[in-house]
Amino acid sequence: MLVEPTQLVDTERGLLSRRIFIEPEIYQQELQQLFARCWLYLCHDSQIPLPGDFYTTYMGEDPVLVVRGSDGQIRAFLNVCRHRGNRLCRAEDGNAASFTCAYHGWTYGNDGRLTGVPNLREAYHGELNRDRWGLVPVAQLDTYKGLVFATFDPEAPSLRDYLGEMAWYLDTFVDRREGGIEIVATHKWVMPCNWKFPAENFGGDAYHVNWSHRSAVTTGFSVGSTASPASGNKAVSPGQGHGLICIGADAYGDAPLPEIQAYEREIRPEVEARLGPRAKLINPIVGTVFPNFSVLRGTSRTLRVWQPRGPDKTEIWSWVVVDKAAPPEVKRAFRLSGVRGFSPAGTFEQDDMDNWQECTQTCRGIMSRRVPVNTQMGLGHERFDPALGAWASDYGFSESNHREFYRRWAELMANGAAANGTAGNGAGDA
C-alpha cells in the first residue's frame, strides 16, 4: 500500500510534510519507487580503467559490484552470492579475474558467470545449472562522459533521456578540458540525517551559504560566490528533478588559491570552446542529478552520492576530482581545496551536518511533524529560459529547484505501475 504523495508534497503552495523525512514506510517506498527505478551514479571510469578493475558501491541500500571484465566491458551486479546471499566482494576496490564467496566458496568470473561451485558433482549431483546462477546484473548500465550510471528498471528511459538538458550542465563539471576529469581522493562518512536534505541543498540552496558557511568565507577558505545573490546568480532546473545553483559567467567560484585562479584564467578559452555559447551566459557551481548524485565546483571540486541508510541516516561518498589535463601543482591545489573545503573535516562541510541532522531529528516529534516546512521562496518568480534550456529563478536565492525536486519526487512516488515489475518476490526466478 503506497502512501499518497500528493498529501505530502504541495509544490503549488510550497509546502512539504515533514513525514517524508522520518517515516520508515515512506523511506521503504522511496527505495522501491526511486532507488529501484532511477538512474543512479556508480563510479567514474577512471577508477576502473583496465580489465579486472572493480569498485563496490550501492544503489539505494543494495550493494553493487562494478567490474570491468577481462573483455574490457563495464558491468554491474548485485554484490550478493546467489547461494546463501552473502556479500560476495568485501573490498572497496581492486582488480580481479574472479571473485570467491567467503562462505562456501562459490566463484564468479569478472563477467558475472558462476564458474565454480565446490562439490558440484557430489553434493548437487550435477543438477545445478551454473548458467542460471550467475550474479544478478543491473537492468541497464551506461556512461556519460566517464560517469558510470545504472538502473534496476529495464523500462527506464535511456540515461541520455533521463539526464535531458542536465547533460550540458554536467559537462561544465566533468568535460571542461580534453580528457575530462579524474578522481584524486575519496571520502566516506556517515551523517544522521535524511538523504533528501543534502540532495536538495546541493541542488538549489544558495540561501544557506551566507549564514551556514560565513565563517569559512570570512577566514579565507572560499570566495563565497553563491553567498551573495549577485545579478547573475540563478537557481536553474533543467527538468526531471535535476537542479543547479549557477553564478554569472564571469564570476569566480573556485577556491581562493593562486594556482587555481591562474589556471582557470588560462583555460577559459578552451572551456568556452568546449561548452559552447551557453557558457558565456552562466557558470554552474553546484547541482544535484535526481535523486542522490551531486556535483560541486564551488570552493572544492567533488562528485558525491548521498547513500540512503534509513530515514534518518545517510552515508556521504565524496570524490575529489580534477581536470585530467591539469598540471600536477594545480591537481595538488584542487586536492587540498577538496580536503579543506568539502570533506568530513572540510571547513564548509562540517557546518552542514548539525543542521541537516536536526532538520531530520526534530521530525520525530509528533507535533513537529504536523507542521509543514516552508518551501515558498521565490514561488511564482521562476520562468523558463530558452537560452538556458531550463527553468530559472529571477534572483540568486530561490527555492524553485527544491520545488522541482519534490515535484519529481511525488511523481515517481505515486507512479507504481512500472516500479517493481521486475522485482517480484524473488522466489520465482531460475
Binding site: D53, N95, A97, V190, E315
Partner: protein
C-alpha cells in the same frame, strides 16, 4: 633501539610535552596549541582503505603488477586533513567567528595519548615520536564519537623548546562513523 635503552629524562620530557598538548586541546586553548608547531609544519591525516591483500583467496587477481594492497592513504590520496601552519591558524580563526556551527556549542573532547615511542639520535635537534590516540568527542545532548588512530611526529628543538615540525595522523576507519571532524588531534 627501543625506549628502554634511551635517556629516561628525554622520554619523560617528550611524554610531558604530548600530554600538555592534549590538555591545551581539551581546554580549547587553540591559540596556545598553534604555538607548538613550527612555521613549516605539515599536518595531515590519512584514512584507511578496505582492500584485499595480495594473498587473499577471495579474488584471483587479473593484473598483479598494478594491484595495490596497501590500505593506508598515501600522501596524495584519501587525506582527511592536509594542513600548513597557515591553514591550521585559519581553522582556529574560523572557530573564533562565532559562526562555526559544527563547534557551536563546542564539542567536549578528551585526548588519550599512549604508546609513545622515540626514534632518532638523542643528542640531535630532531626526534621522531610515535604515539597512538583515542579522542573522545561528546556533542550536543547524547552524541558520542571515538576517533582512534596513530601519530607520527617529527619534533624539533627550537630555542630550547620542542616544536612539532611534522605530524602524520592515521585514522583507523574506512567509512568514518562520525558526522564530521571538527576537532584537532
Amino acid at each position: 633501539m627501543g625506549p628502554a635503552m634511551r635517556n629516561e629524562d628525554l622520554i619523560r620530557e617528550i611524554e610531558q610535552f604530548l600530554y600538555c598538548e592534549a590538555r591545551l586541546l581539551d581546554s580549547r586553548r587553540f591559540h596556545e596549541w598553534l604555538e607548538l608547531f613550527t612555521d613549516d609544519v605539515r599536518y595531515w591525516m590519512a584514512g584507511r582503505s578496505n582492500r584485499y591483500p595480495k594473498s587473499s583467496k577471495a579474488i584471483t587477481i587479473l593484473d598483479p603488477e598494478r594491484y595495490v594492497e596497501d590500505d593506508v592513504g598515501r600522501e596524495d590520496e584519501l587525506a582527511l586533513l592536509d594542513e600548513s601552519k597557515e591553514t591550521l591558524a585559519a581553522r582556529v580563526a574560523r572557530l573564533d567567528t562565532g559562526m562555526a556551527w559544527a563547534e557551536d556549542p563546542p564539542s567536549r573532547t578528551r585526548h588519550m595519548i599512549t604508546n609513545i615511542e622515540l626514534e632518532g639520535d638523542d643528542a640531535g635537534a630532531e626526534l621522531k615520536v610515535y604515539s597512538n590516540f583515542i579522542v573522545y568527542r561528546s556533542r550536543a545532548e547524547t552524541e558520542q564519537d571515538f576517533y582512534v588512530g596513530a601519530r607520527e611526529d617529527l619534533l624539533r628543538r627550537v630555542d630550547g623548546a620542542w616544536k612539532i615540525a611534522y605530524r602524520k595522523l592515521i585514522l583507523d576507519q574506512n567509512v568514518l562513523t562520525a558526522k564530521n571532524i571538527s576537532v584537532f588531534f
